[in-house]
Symmetry: none
Subunit: 425 residues, 2 copies
């Protein structure tokens, strides 16, 4: 089945925002075994949008449109898409009630133009939006389909994963019968080129296929098989996943779709009944924030400290003045004392410290922007590691947090592998 | 003059990479006063690429293609574009010499297929590539133009800025003389539809135009004018921006392109020489992380605490056991004690507390998922506010942090507006 993506929004044509939705949907569609030959960006103009939709419907079976479902005057996607198939818009009581509830729950007043979001094309399937007010729309006509999704990524992504992906998986795929099944082998602590150099033989496979996707501090290898039924597909995928696991060993942190690196770390802590505390300088709470995004983290997370100033490092973690004077705040010695001090203070089994220079200022020839030291205390032993990251301040901090999660995981696994007893995951 | 962007690359169709080139070129072209109505992504397939180029040439004066200029077999952009205008490719000695030098200087061996990159369409203008081996190409025919640029951003951007932009500036632009200038009015603490309902008259304007963009917890109003020169354009934009500021008052936190909500808050703290400390439960450090993403925050940020457990709330912020027992961790009383306790502990002028239920578990009929209390202490006074957010755990936490920044800003502004003296921004 051939899919085509249309992103609607003048802000895209003006370059005000980057089209991350298209990349997200393209990757998801590829994972579902759909072929995509074109992506188009068009502005909030009904004439040009209608023309773009008609062209897409001529050459593709499925057209996914994103954006332009808002309450404002220049949101025209729903009206235009319905018009192309001469469908009228009708008020959907279910959606209207959801929108009213959305505003009521927030104690916000609902304005007249919000009702516009509850209008849906006749005969369309309405997809609830759990993170916003614009419902998704699925329209079908003579074997062709249009799917309309909201533009904000935090509305689009959950809607696609929870509703659209299952819908697409259930569709007949004439030119490629059977189903698509894929499993992702998630690897941390290795660069994409290094990973790729070890799977060139597997990348040559036809069914299942193996495709690498680079993420911040991670590489995901997606193994996708097409077969008569899921049982057959799984049989094809299984040995390749097994092979990848043996090639990359403990660098593989999961093969589960819904397990993130931070979830893998929290699960590792839970499984070993370990508590954790964090102390961050340049990342300013981002490490704790990622851990705390995992439900159930309350069982393991004790306390997080953000000690951006030297004073706070001394006051809270008891970093020695002499250490700061002699080696500086960005040094392996400070990272070590931060981790140990936090362990003493919070009695956590695992503590993690981050101190570095995120830039743009504060760098020197000796200690350049991007230099970061991390300390990880595990049940008495403290490991310290030096990192060099590049990019702007935000990129450096984001990369640092992924590296921190990878290091914490490695230190815990190492601790248990060196013990002759004790649990391990 | 109407420009159209075509990005060539199967990796874009598969979602392996995000199309940042399109956003970059779109913004540059808008700045040059070019109108852009379409962006297309197409794979390394000569048939589909040729069709896409023909369509673009029919509806636009200028087509900018990026990618597919590499040495490998599946790099077809140059061959295909030349084919559309029946141009032959010929070896360009100048480019060949540059490529040979490029490899020699790096001590790399030049393979046979690199020579392919020195082939250029007859009659084309060759644009030197100072950061790679693929030269840029400018082709003209009957008033239409094609510009071929290399895909790697670090080759594309310098080439566009140094060679293409000057070339385009020099071109006649009959139907739309002059340039485009825009300013963004950034509003916090109001929903998109509420903002929209107050600017319907301004949205009807033709020059400048006013367009709303919804962000998490914010609405941005972009005012864009087209005029002979920047001076003229600014004259058109200024009164509209002034009008928007007066309509939305203190909800407008900036009109600067590079100022985010967290930067506005940090600037407000700096301007009033206020220090700040944070204490977070369900947001787990996200508020501190956003503040600390601002360079220079070290002058104002004292300490951040992540007290996810009741024990930590008591131990660190001195929240009374009685308060937790009687009202619970998610209560206005606890939020207030967290903020006051942190003020006592860190001696910061401003402290901010967040405690709530981010879900998916932990919600009750009385205290549902999404219920969050925030406390803001400013120089002796503590404000507490109740919020109701919906969505998944990540969405609730992200929205909460935007609301926190908005509330912190409002509390500080209020504090100074109630004083008869003192600074204010």
């Amino acid at each position: 089945m051939v899919v085509e993506l249309i992103s609607v929004g003048t802000e895209l044509l003006l370059g005000n925002i980057v089209n991350t939705n298209a990349a997200y949907l393209a990757e998801k569609c590829a994972g579902l075994g759909l072929s995509c030959y074109y992506q188009t960006v068009v502005g909030d103009n009904s004439g040009r949008l209608a023309g773009t939709i008609r062209t897409a419907l001529e050459r593709s079976d499925l057209v996914i449109l994103t954006g332009g479902l808002g309450p404002t005057q220049d949101d025209l996607t729903k009206e235009t898409a319905a018009g192309v198939w001469n469908r009228q818009l009708a008020m959907d009581p279910h959606s209207l009630e959801r929108i009213e509830t959305y505003f009521r729950e927030r104690g916000l007043e609902m304005t007249e133009n919000n009702k516009k979001q509850a209008l849906v094309p006749e005969g369309a399937i309405v997809v609830d939006n759990d993170n916003g007010t614009a419902p998704g729309i699925i329209m079908e006509k003579e074997g062709k389909r249009m799917i309309l999704l909201p533009g904000p990524p935090n509305e689009l992504k959950p809607m696609f994963e929870n509703s659209i992906a299952p819908f697409l998986t259930g569709l007949e795929n004439p030119d490629a019968p059977g189903i698509i099944f894929s499993k992702t082998v998630k690897i941390c602590g290795m660069g994409e080129s290094k990973v790729e150099s070890q799977i060139t033989d597997l990348e040559a496979l036809a069914n299942p296929t193996v495709a690498p996707y680079a993420k911040t501090g991670e590489v995901h290898l997606r193994v996708t098989a097409r077969a008569e039924d899921e049982k057959e597909a799984k049989k094809l995928v299984k040995p390749v996943v097994k092979e990848l696991k043996s090639r990359f060993g403990s660098a593989v942190y999961t093969t589960e779709e819904d397990v993130t690196l931070e979830k893998a770390v929290v699960d590792l802590l839970l499984a070993n009944e370990l508590t954790v505390s964090t102390i961050e300088s340049c990342t300013g709470g981002m490490l704790a924030a990622r851990l705390i995004n995992i439900p159930g983290v309350s069982e393991v997370f004790k306390t997080g400290y953000i000690t951006y100033s030297n004073k706070a490092k001394r006051k809270i973690a008891g970093v020695k003045k002499g250490t700061l004077d002699k080696f500086g705040a960005v040094s392996p010695q400070t990272a070590k004392e931060m981790a140990r001090g936090t362990a003493l203070l919070t009695k956590a089994d695992v503590t993690f410290s981050i101190t570095g220079i995120a830039g743009p200022d504060g760098g020197t020839a000796e200690k350049p922007v991007g230099l970061i030291y991390m300390g990880c205390y595990v049940c008495g032993t403290t490991h310290v590691k030096e990192f060099h990251f590049s990019g702007n301040r935000a990129k450096i901090r984001e990369t640092a947090v992924s590296a921190a999660l990878t290091m914490m995981r490695q230190c815990i696994l190492e601790y248990y592998s060196q013990k002759t007893f004790g649990k391990k995951v």
